[in-house]
Symmetry: C2
Subunit: 210 residues, 2 copies
């Protein structure tokens, strides 16, 4: 189907629908309606209906969507069917945790290797290679890498970001709690877990005072 314009809030919800649809047991009904999905996830029916209509043409009144078709449509829409190869920069504790987390494969992300300015070993516990930063450019060029994940300390984040861009990277997933300056054709997605923790911690402090 023709791709319609898509908002970030829709992108927030689609992975949730997908996870639910995929979790249904094999013997479930082959069709699912927006209403059933909305009820199962405790969401508004109108919103679910609109979201599904944006990604899949196969919905029929009173029957709903063929479940497998809907799964395929959402996966295709989110790009999960094209596996994206990525490199990760900064093989510290967070970097190693992300490298070791197998769950990204379900989202089409394949972290091929890590790079570090001072690699302490040549591979992770799971056997993924850790190379010196000197090898980054050659690796990215030969493997045609388009996505980079930044898990270095904050003061190195911008220079690592610049290096990734010089190596042909177009999309950056940034776990360093800092803003990155990039050209207009590069997309940076920030994952600020420190901020989340600060927000939660402040809420707890405020609760204690009551």
């Amino acid at each position: 189907m023709e791709r319609k314009e898509i908002s970030k809030s829709v992108l927030k919800r689609l992975p949730g629908y997908l996870a639910y649809l995929k979790s249904l047991p094999d013997g479930s009904s082959p069709n699912i309606s927006a209403t059933a999905l909305a009820n199962a996830l405790g969401m508004g029916e109108v919103q679910v209906r609109k979201d599904l209509a944006m990604v899949c043409d196969g919905g029929r009144p009173k029957i709903g969507y063929p479940r497998e078709m809907l799964i395929d449509a959402i996966e295709q829409f989110l790009g999960y069917d094209n596996t994206t190869d990525a490199v990760l920069i900064g093989a510290g504790r967070l970097g190693q945790a992300l490298l070791g987390y197998g769950g990204f494969a379900a989202y089409g992300l394949n972290i091929l290797a890590a790079f570090d300015a001072n690699p302490v070993s040549s591979q992770t516990e799971d056997g993924k290679p850790i190379y010196h930063m000197d090898q980054l450019e050659a690796y990215c060029r030969s493997h045609k890498i388009r996505m980079g994940i930044i898990t270095v300390p904050i003061q190195h984040a911008q220079s690592v970001c610049n290096q990734l861009i010089a190596c042909g990277i177009k999309a950056i997933w940034n776990f360093a709690p800092t803003h990155l300056e990039v050209p207009a054709n590069i997309l940076v997605q920030h994952e600020n877990m420190a901020m989340s923790l600060a927000v939660l911690s402040m809420h707890l402090q405020a609760q204690m005072k009551k």
Copy 2:
């Protein structure tokens, strides 16, 4: 100092300042100005000046802030000095990765134990205990736990959330890609990594077509 009203955008930036300040070598100047901090992080001077003034009274013209005082003030402001004990529900791959990640200690988060509806072992590789969900309430009550981390599949997230609230939890860090309904006094912070990946993947797809 009296606590002023704080926006989420300030909370986003403070962990970055803190990480940078703590990364400076021992022999560095004992003082740091907002200008120096802004330059080092590639940020606007006015913004950094305002942010620092919000958390610390100790800034002096032309000298800046005593670095240690500023570190303490930000840590106190963010609640990193009060360690928060938390439980994690869902000892799957993501849950185990978070349990094994030592870096949260720097943010005052201490994940004491994991709980699972079907624990496959009694502890993680790092020796953190994994209990059956039946033990959740007794554990939370006896350890006075106020924070819960949800890493269960989407269709169990709301019921786990309800159980946590029934156990006295006031703040929830939710990694399941779904909205959670909670009473007004409970704060939920969502970490939607699937959404981040979808946004990055879409950007790459759009770039390929050029």
